[in-house]
Every structure is written in structure tokens, then in C-alpha cells.
């Protein structure tokens, strides 16, 4: 556990925030949570193929960041990508169908949990080689510059990814050319079993930006409004042509690394302390305190999120299984 990270449990400060934005963020975080909670049971009880990595407890990062973007801005994601997709409005039905390896899935059943992609939503892909999405988002930012599209590109990646050389190569080019890129370190304090202190010489990961003359921010990643505000500033800078920003969002992976991984390397008290700092409940408390929503309204949104996921599961189960030769159509593009 990082001695330097304060675990905050106070309500998110929602004063001055647009209630519509807050409501959207609350809904999206719940959808992401419920999606993964149900996946867990599906993996336990049915023949859901493959593996998956849950972002339970980290939803405020995905949702806070994406809420600051336009629909046509682009993101890249990781092996732990479900929440990014939900935040970016990838249809829940298609996400769930992909998990079940159905033809109607967002990747036609070819990608699975670790490779969810939806170009119509600016979701450029989930890359399961740690760090590999970082230069790809940077390329999307370069493309936005070349095409003069005004788009911003965001790369999500974990605390473990900053130790891949490609992180440094990409950030240097982005800063050198002032590309409209935003880098989000989802610092959930572990890369599988390894703590940040065990793998990074300087555990303040945001500080790496200074080597590239890039502005950086370190935010409470369980405070969706703090994440949102920091991202809004970065988006403004990017769109103004002032270049990239590195944001380190401090959060926690409540579940094991993947599927049934028990995470025995973490002290139980640490997990419990972070469970009590749940980003969804902190937002709910903040919204009620700020008068942005009533408890009843929030409860209704909770129920809606649950039924949206139930519907997605029902939908996915009616879809068509991938057939043996489907992939032959997807190996190379036809000109």
C-alpha cells in the first residue's frame, strides 16, 4: 500500500456542477459496475469463454474522463476496459454479446473482453499488451492534427504500463509536437501482484511528465468530479493546441487481477478501507448533499442500470454464436 495515498471517503463535492452531467456520470458508473458484477456470476455459473479483468472500484476514472470528451473524441483502452467502453457509450447489448462470443458483439465475437472496440463511438480498441495503446492514442492525436479535426485522443493505461519504454517514446513525441493527447494513468496501486513502490523508482507517476515538459495532475480517482474537472482542463489545453497532459488518477482495484485471482498479496484491511471509499457511493452522497438529485431519483437510476444489464444479458443469450469460419472475413481488409 502506498503510504502517500490518502483514502478519502467524503462525499464528492458537486456544488456548481451541471446536474445533467452528474446524473449521466452516476448512471454510467452504475452500468459499468453492474456489467462487471453480472460478468462475475456469468463466469462462475455459465460457459462464458475466456477471461476478464474487472474495474470494480475504478469506475470514476473511466466515467470522469470520458464525460469531459465529445462523442467524436477517441480513446484507447486496456485489458481492464469494460468501464471505458460503457463510459464511451458502446452499446451494452453489443458489449455483452461480445463477452458471449456472439456475432452481434461489438467485435463480432472475434475480440472478446480484452479487445472491445467500437469505432462509431470513438473507442479505438482495447489493447491487452500492456502499454501498447499509448502510442496508438498518440497516433490518433497526430491524425487529428493532420486532419485538423479538432478531436482529442485519450489513452487509458495502468500504473504498470508506465514502465514500458513505449510510454516514454509516446509522451515525448506528443509533447514535442504538442499533440492533442491526454494520458490517463489509472493508478490502482497494483500491477498484478506488484505495488507501485515495488516497480517504480519514483512512485509519484504523474511526475514523469516533467521530463517532457508536459503538465501533469494527480487526482483522487474515486472522486468522479475531480477526475472530470482535471480532464476538462486537459481537453481545453489540447483543443487550444497547447499539447498533451498526463493525469494520474489514484484509485483501487477492489477485485483480483483477473476473473478468480484471489489477490492474496494484499492486506485485507487495505481492501476493506478502499471498499468504504466507493466512488459510486461518494458521488451519490455528494449529489444529495448538493441537491443535484434526490435519493429516490438515484435509486431509480440504480434500478435502471440493473435492468439495462439484465436486458443486455437476455439480448446476448438470444444472439448467434460465432461460427467456425467467421474469422476468415476479417483477416485483411478488402480494398
Amino acid at each position: 500500500m502506498s503510504a502517500t495515498i490518502e483514502i478519502r471517503r467524503d462525499p464528492v463535492n458537486c456544488s456548481g456542477q451541471d446536474p445533467a452531467v452528474l446524473l449521466r456520470m452516476f448512471r454510467k458508473m452504475l452500468q459499468a459496475r453492474e456489467f462487471e458484477e453480472q460478468l462475475y456470476y456469468l463466469f462462475l455459473t455459465t460457459a462464458m469463454p475466456g477471461t476478464m479483468h474487472q474495474a470494480v472500484g475504478q469506475e470514476a476514472v473511466a466515467v470522469g474522463v470520458v464525460s469531459a470528451l465529445n462523442a467524436d473524441d477517441t480513446i484507447t483502452s486496456t485489458h481492464r476496459g469494460h468501464a471505458h467502453c460503457v463510459a464511451k457509450d458502446v452499446p451494452l447489448n453489443e458489449m455483452m454479446a461480445e463477452m458471449f462470443a456472439k456475432r452481434e458483439g461489438s467485435c463480432r465475437g472475434m475480440g472478446g473482453s480484452m479487445h472491445l472496440t467500437d469505432f462509431s463511438k470513438g473507442m479505438l480498441g482495447a489493447f491487452a499488451i500492456v502499454g501498447s495503446g499509448i502510442p496508438i492514442a498518440t497516433g490518433a492525436a497526430l491524425s487529428a492534427r493532420v486532419r485538423n479535426s479538432g478531436q482529442v485522443a485519450v489513452s487509458f493505461f495502468g500504473d504498470g504500463a508506465v514502465n514500458e519504454g513505449i510510454f516514454h517514446e509516446a509522451l515525448n513525441m506528443a509533447a514535442l509536437w504538442k499533440l492533442p493527447a491526454i494520458y490517463i494513468i489509472e493508478n490502482n496501486q497494483y500491477a498484478l501482484s506488484m505495488t507501485v513502490e515495488e516497480s517504480s523508482a519514483v512512485p509519484n507517476l504523474a511526475s514523469r511528465a516533467c521530463a517532457y515538459g508536459m503538465p501533469d495532475r494527480r487526482v483522487d480517482g474515486n472522486d468522479v468530479v475531480a477526475v472530470y474537472d482535471a480532464t476538462c482542463e486537459a481537453v481545453e489545453r489540447a483543443r487550444a493546441g497547447d499539447g498533451p497532459t498526463l493525469i494520474e488518477a489514484l484509485t483501487y482495484r477492489i477485485r483480483g487481477h483477473a476473473r478468480f485471482e484471489a489477490a492474496g498479496y494484499r492486506p485485507e484491511e487495505e481492501v476493506e478501507a478502499w471498499k468504504a471509499a466507493d466512488p459510486i457511493e461518494r458521488l451519490a452522497a455528494g449529489m444529495i448533499a448538493a441537491g443535484a438529485a434526490s435519493a429516490d431519483e438515484l435509486n431509480r437510476i440504480r434500478e435502471e442500470a440493473e435492468s439495462a444489464i439484465e436486458d443486455a444479458i437476455e439480448y446476448a443469450q438470444t444472439c448467434t454464436d460465432v461460427e467456425a469460419e467467421d474469422y476468415l472475413a476479417y483477416i485483411t481488409a478488402e480494398n
Binding site: G109, M110, G111, A128, N163, M194, E323, E325
Partner: protein
């Protein structure tokens, strides 16, 4: 005799070499405290300490290079990749550095380095499923070792560690076996045979470049590695019931390759099937076909049959993955084709 699973056998071989030789060290992600993603390095940190078991950051290019530097200066590092797909992050260090340093130094330098990790398609999509041995087989300077049974794995890892060259040691996720320390839900495949599980406790070395005839036969030779060896043995048992006698050969290392054992078998059966889980084009099976044509052409009564994965990234959907990867039925059909001429 005592029975071990594949990962336990590799683990025992590594531990015995580390006890015998202080220059053997481990580098890799989660190899220490966590004991390795597939438990191969379980408890090694406790026994050997942090000066010999290095839990690295996620920096494949970096820690591969560290392994090379340590190898050049008197150590025998074993580098683990959590999945062999990730070795591509380190390809410059492997292909341009580790494999070339010996020649570039005019034979003055040596790089006693083991690069090991699991591969194989197990429903995890294109970036966690690939078979990588053909890339390394194509890289002069590298040796490539492919253990399919626990007995072989222990003897081969010991030889790999003692070898003065960079060795890729390929493990298959589906072969790790339930007996792995640390347990967990074992992946499995119905074709996997309980063979070679009697593993002697004392250290022993199986020389690289020595193939093993896993089943004697006289009608057709099947050459296969890793999971495909097990599927081929399943085919051999099926065909035996039809009166077809199949010889099954496991090369155990692709570089060096034991051509003599293969040629002797071909001289006897005159019909050959080669099977590999990697993709077909410019792959392991292609190289084996060419080698057999070079050495055994006049012993052949029919074209050598090649069975390999379809030339595609591995798709996620189970039916599609199954279609891409050679199955028992594909190998059996190839054996019939080999015999039909």
C-alpha cells in the same frame, strides 16, 4: 515413481540448478512474491532471496536486456515472460542482441540465457494465444526447446540453463497440469495424455537436439510438439484400432533439430505428417517439411502432409479458435491423406 505435472517439473529443474549454481538467477514479472502467473517460480524468492529472484516492472525490453548483460558478465539468467506473446515487446533485445552477440564478437562473448514462458490458444483472444517458436527458429543464434511432458521438461530446462547460448524454452498453458504447485483451476484438454509424469527427483539433463520416439509404429510417422504431440498420440491410438500403425516423434527441440531420428523413422514408414500449433505460412511445419524433403526425399512414398494453424490472428469465439488450431480430426485426416497415395 513420483509423478509431477509439467510446471512442477520445470520448477524442480530450475530450483536444482539454482541450488547447484549460484550464477543462475530469475528475472520476470510477478516471479517472486507471487510465484509466477502460472506458479512455475512458486516459493523461489523464499529460498533464493531477492538477489537471485528479481520481480521486475512491466518492462520486457528492459529486463530482457538486463538478462543479456548479466549473461555476458558471468551469470545464467532465466527470464520469464508472463505469456510468450509479450516477448515481442523485447524483440530487438532478443533478435538483434542476444542472438547476434556471439557472432559479432567473433566468438569472444557468450550469452547463456533462458527465455521462457507459456503460449497456446486457450480462449483469450489474439494477444494471449499465439505460438511464437517460428520467429525464434528463424533467428540464427537462438535455440528453441519445446517440452511436451513433465519428464522431458525437467531434463530440458536443466540443459537449457547449462547451455552457453540464448535458449527459448516454450511451455504450453494447456500442458501445465493440475499438479502445479499453487494449484488454481487447471486448464485442460481431453487429448492430453498422462505420459512422462514419472519424474526422477535427482537432476538429469536431456541433451538439446535429441528427439524422442513417443510411440513406435511402421505405417506413418507423425512429428509434433507440445499440445500437438498429445493430439497426435490420440490419433495414433485411434488409428491403431483400425490396424494403422503410427510412429509419433517429438523433436523436443526445434533448434537444434534431431534430423537423424526423424530420418530413421521416415526410412521405416515412408509416410509423414508434421503438426504444429503455430501458423502455417513460413512456420515450423513448413520448415520440417523442407528438412524432410532435403534428407529423406527418396524414402517418401507420398508428399509430406503439413498440419498447422490457419494463417490468421487467433479469434476469440471458441468455435473459430477451434477451427484455426489443428484438432485431432485434422491430424487424423492428414494421416489418411499421407497414406492414401
Amino acid at each position: 515413481m513420483r509423478q509431477l505435472g509439467l510446471s512442477a517439473a520445470i520448477r524442480e529443474g530450475i530450483i536444482q540448478e539454482m541450488r547447484a549454481d549460484d550464477s543462475v538467477i530469475l528475472l520476470g514479472e510477478d516471479v517472486g512474491k507471487f510465484g509466477g502467473a502460472f506458479h512455475v517460480t512458486h516459493d523461489m524468492l523464499d529460498e533464493f532471496g531477492a538477489n537471485r529472484v528479481w520481480d521486475t516492472p512491466i518492462s520486457e525490453a528492459g529486463f530482457t536486456g538486463l538478462g543479456i548483460g548479466a549473461a555476458l558478465t558471468g551469470l545464467r539468467p532465466i527470464v520469464e515472460y508472463q505469456y510468450l506473446d509479450f516477448i515481442f515487446c523485447a524483440m530487438d533485445q532478443v533478435v538483434n542482441q542476444a542472438a547476434k552477440i556471439r557472432l559479432m564478437s567473433g566468438g569472444r562473448a557468450k550469452v547463456p540465457l533462458v527465455l521462457r514462458g507459456p503460449q497456446g490458444a486457450t480462449g483469450r483472444g489474439a494477444q494471449h494465444s499465439q505460438s511464437i517458436e517460428a520467429y525464434m527458429m528463424h533467428t540464427p543464434g537462438m535455440k528453441v526447446v519445446m517440452p511436451a511432458t513433465p519428464f522431458d521438461a525437467k531434463g530440458l530446462i536443466i540443459s537449457a540453463i547449462r547451455d552457453d547460448n540464448p535458449v527459448l524454452f516454450v511451455e504450453h498453458k494447456l500442458l501445465y497440469g493440475a499438479a502445479s504447485p499453487g494449484g488454481g483451476k487447471a486448464l485442460s484438454d481431453s487429448a492430453i495424455q498422462a505420459i512422462g509424469m514419472d519424474v526422477p527427483e535427482e537432476p538429469y539433463a536431456i541433451p538439446l537436439g535429441s528427439a524422442d520416439v513417443k510411440r513406435q509404429g511402421s505405417d506413418v510417422t507423425i512429428i509434433a510438439t507440445l499440445l500437438m504431440l498429445h493430439r497426435s498420440l490420440t490419433v495414433a491410438a485411434q488409428l491403431a484400432e483400425q490396424g494403422i500403425s503410427v510412429e509419433v516423434i517429438d523433436p523436443r527441440s526445434l533448434v537444434p533439430l534431431d534430423v537423424d531420428t526423424i530420418a530413421a523413422s521416415v526410412a521405416k514408414t515412408n509416410h509423414v505428417v508434421v503438426v504444429s500449433e503455430d501458423t502455417s505460412r513460413a512456420g515450423v511445419a513448413a520448415e520440417l517439411v523442407a528438412t524432410i524433403n532435403d534428407h529423406c526425399f527418396y524414402d517418401l512414398e507420398a508428399p509430406v502432409q503439413r498440419v498447422a494453424a490457419v494463417d490468421t490472428p487467433i479469434p476469440f469465439g471458441p468455435a473459430a479458435e477451434r477451427h484455426v488450431i489443428p484438432q485431432v480430426d485434422d491430424i487424423r485426416a492428414a494421416a489418411y491423406r499421407a497414406l492414401s497415395d
